[in-house]
């Protein structure tokens, strides 16, 4: 079964200057349970594609289906609930909310889902404990190292047990050791949870450890080039 089925996507940004078309006619499909890496030069639209797949942005044309649901057909509330229940997002710069502790950041998805504050914190604490961040649960995000921040961000993305994990250069801002550690965490959680994971990265070493590699360019997204991780 397809976890992600995006067809004929076009995305054009219209800001103060001339409109910028990031991609046009782009199609992208991933089987459920796959661990895919997307590579490509800066500006090729990797992050934009991830935003479209994660329902936090909309294509100008084309259709995005995630877990069999057409995102464009959903009302805003329904789309929000779908994101909360099914999609986890990890950003390059962690994007933790700086006024809140690690535990509170990880508890946010539960709170948004309507889980009580106490239960949300308990669940968040358990997850942080499992990811080796139990001692840092009460720290504000700015008191954490870069690697810890990204691990907390991964915990936040995993909090609701999503079926699809979208990670936008999660190791791009880390040194080699921290990047390795964060990737290991992602790979381990992917395996244990049986999620569909899509990872945007510039790091070919890490990409090769994924099941599938896609390459994006101005011309579109290439067909997969193999299964290096299984080689």
């Amino acid at each position: 079964m397809l976890a992600i089925d995006a067809a004929d996507l076009e995305k054009t940004y219209t800001g103060e200057g001339a409109p910028v078309t990031v991609f046009r006619g782009l199609s992208f499909r991933i089987e459920e349970g796959a661990f895919a890496a997307i590579m490509g030069p800066s500006g090729s639209g990797k992050s934009t594609l991830l935003h479209l797949l994660g329902a936090i942005d909309r294509p100008n044309t084309g259709r995005v289906q995630v877990l069999g649901r057409d995102l464009a057909q959903m009302a805003p509330r329904e789309r929000a609930r779908f994101r909360n229940e099914n999609i986890g997002f990890v950003f390059q710069f962690h994007h933790l909310l700086p006024e809140f502790t690690a535990e509170e950041n990880v508890a946010f998805p539960h709170r948004i889902a309507g889980v009580s504050p106490g239960e949300s914190r308990r669940l968040a604490g358990e997850l942080l404990e499992r990811l080796g961040l139990g001692e840092r649960r009460g720290h504000l995000s700015r008191a954490l190292s870069g690697g810890e921040q990204q691990r907390v961000a991964i915990a936040r993305a995993l909090a609701r047990g999503p079926r699809v994990l979208l990670a936008d250069e999660p190791t791009g801002n880390l040194d080699a050791a921290a990047a390795e550690s964060v990737f290991d965490l992602l790979a381990r959680e992917h395996k244990e949870r049986g999620m569909t994971s899509v990872l945007v990265t510039h790091n070919p070493e890490l990409a090769r450890r994924c099941d599938t590699i896609y390459t994006m360019s101005r011309e579109g997204i290439s067909p997969e080039v193999g299964y290096p991780g299984r080689g």
């Binding site: 509330r77 710069f93 948004i112």
Partner: protein, 391 residues
């Protein structure tokens, strides 16, 4: 606490560490506090005066009055008196004998028009000589140079027949007391009942009969009972007689409220800029919360709660300040009034619970409404763009 409140409070607490946001937040809270305090003090001032005026109205005047439906004399004053005397808790029943005339000194060199009426029993000091005692309003006394002890001539509009034809009724009174100015509706000259009957030109001339009650608040009920018992009469309560003044007092309060409330409205503009600044500052957070599944209305509520919290802080501080200042001004009589001009020795301030609640509610509602605009902006933020542009 819901998620919007949780996030809003944390934003507000954390904003203390960012100088520019902290400054604007402080200005917002201080602006609202000043507006609320100004409103509390203004309304307390008005309430103080108005409570005094109402107490005067209830204390000085009669509570129920029976007048003829037509004409200026009661047909059967005795029957009216009986009905009024049967009212529960009636303190006194007095006839009203009044009229207009001229007051002059004994030589007739200075004169002033006056409205005279009989004084309630026991209200006048005892006579010091053969002349009937009178209480004269300070204003009238000043116009003709009269003082306590002066003998004055009262000439009524009524006439009596004499061998040379009708001549005005006239008699001498001794000024025994001066009445303070400023008592709205009070007669210029109060004289004993017998003297008033002489000036009225008829021993049976009674314009109305008035009753004072132990409980002035029962006046309307008692008036209805009297009206049922005395068809063909007009029954008025002290509230009816002061309806215009009461309306003016209420109107005065509304106008002052609306005027001083403008301060709160201006302060609310600070709340708009304060909350809008936080929307812009936290744009990335809004995008991140959206990526976690927060619906737009939840994001909007964060900023509405923020406005409400700023409003609550400003309102709380303003209420405390206004109540404290009003209490101190009243308790220690810090604003004196010249006693020879006003009946009060100091400006009174009165705090009424319902008015304080209304001020607090208006202030809170205004601050929260001020956050509507930035809250709407927060709901409309495109999450993808917020995250993309915050890299």
């Amino acid at each position: 606490m819901g998620l919007p409140g949780f996030v809003a409070l944390r934003y507000l607490v954390a904003s203390r560490k960012r100088a520019h946001v902290a400054l604007i937040s402080t200005i917002s809270v201080a602006g609202l506090a000043v507006g609320v305090a100004a409103l509390v003090i203004s309304i307390a001032l008005l309430s103080g005066f108005q409570d005094h005026i109402r107490a005067e109205m209830a204390q000085r005047g009669p509570h129920v009055a029976v007048l003829p439906e037509r004409g200026d004399r009661l047909a059967d004053p005795a029957a009216v008196r009986r009905v009024l005397e049967e009212l529960p808790g009636v303190l006194s029943v007095e006839p009203v004998i009044e009229g207009r005339g001229w007051l002059s000194d004994e030589e007739g060199t200075h004169a002033t028009p006056v409205r005279w009426r009989n004084a309630p029993a026991g209200a006048l000091p005892p006579a010091s000589d053969d002349l009937p005692p009178a209480r004269l309003a300070r204003g009238s006394a000043g116009r003709i140079g009269a003082g306590v002890g002066s003998a004055m001539r009262v000439t009524s509009q009524r006439t009596r027949l004499s061998p040379i034809g009708p001549i005005p009724v006239s008699l001498l009174v001794r000024v025994a007391a001066l009445a303070p100015s400023g008592s709205d509706g009070a007669p210029d000259l109060e004289i004993p009942e017998e003297t008033a009957r002489v000036l009225a030109g008829s021993p049976d001339a009674v314009r109305a009969i008035e009753a004072r009650l132990a409980d002035a608040s029962r006046a309307s009920e008692d008036a209805a009972r009297v009206a049922a018992a005395l068809p063909g009469h007009r029954v008025e309560t002290w509230r009816d007689r002061n309806a215009a003044l009461s309306f003016a007092l209420r109107l005065e309060k509304v106008v002052i409220f609306a005027t001083v409330f403008l301060v709160i409205l201006v302060a609310a503009l600070n709340v708009v800029s304060n909350v809008a600044l936080l929307v812009v500052e936290k744009k990335r957070d809004l995008g991140v919360l959206t990526s976690m599944g927060a619906p737009p209305e939840m994001l909007g509520r964060v900023y509405l709660v923020l406005g409400a919290v700023i409003g609550a802080l400003g309102t709380g501080v303003g209420l405390a300040l206004g109540i404290g200042v009003s209490w101190a001004l009243n308790r220690f009589e810090l604003v004196p009034l010249p006693g020879d001009v006003y009946v009060l020795s100091h400006v009174p301030f009165a705090l009424h619970g319902p008015e304080l609640v209304m001020i607090a509610a208006f202030s809170l509602a205004t601050a929260t409404a001020a956050a509507l605009l930035p809250s709407r902006a927060a709901r409309r933020i495109a999450p993808g763009e917020a995250i993309r542009l915050s890299r």
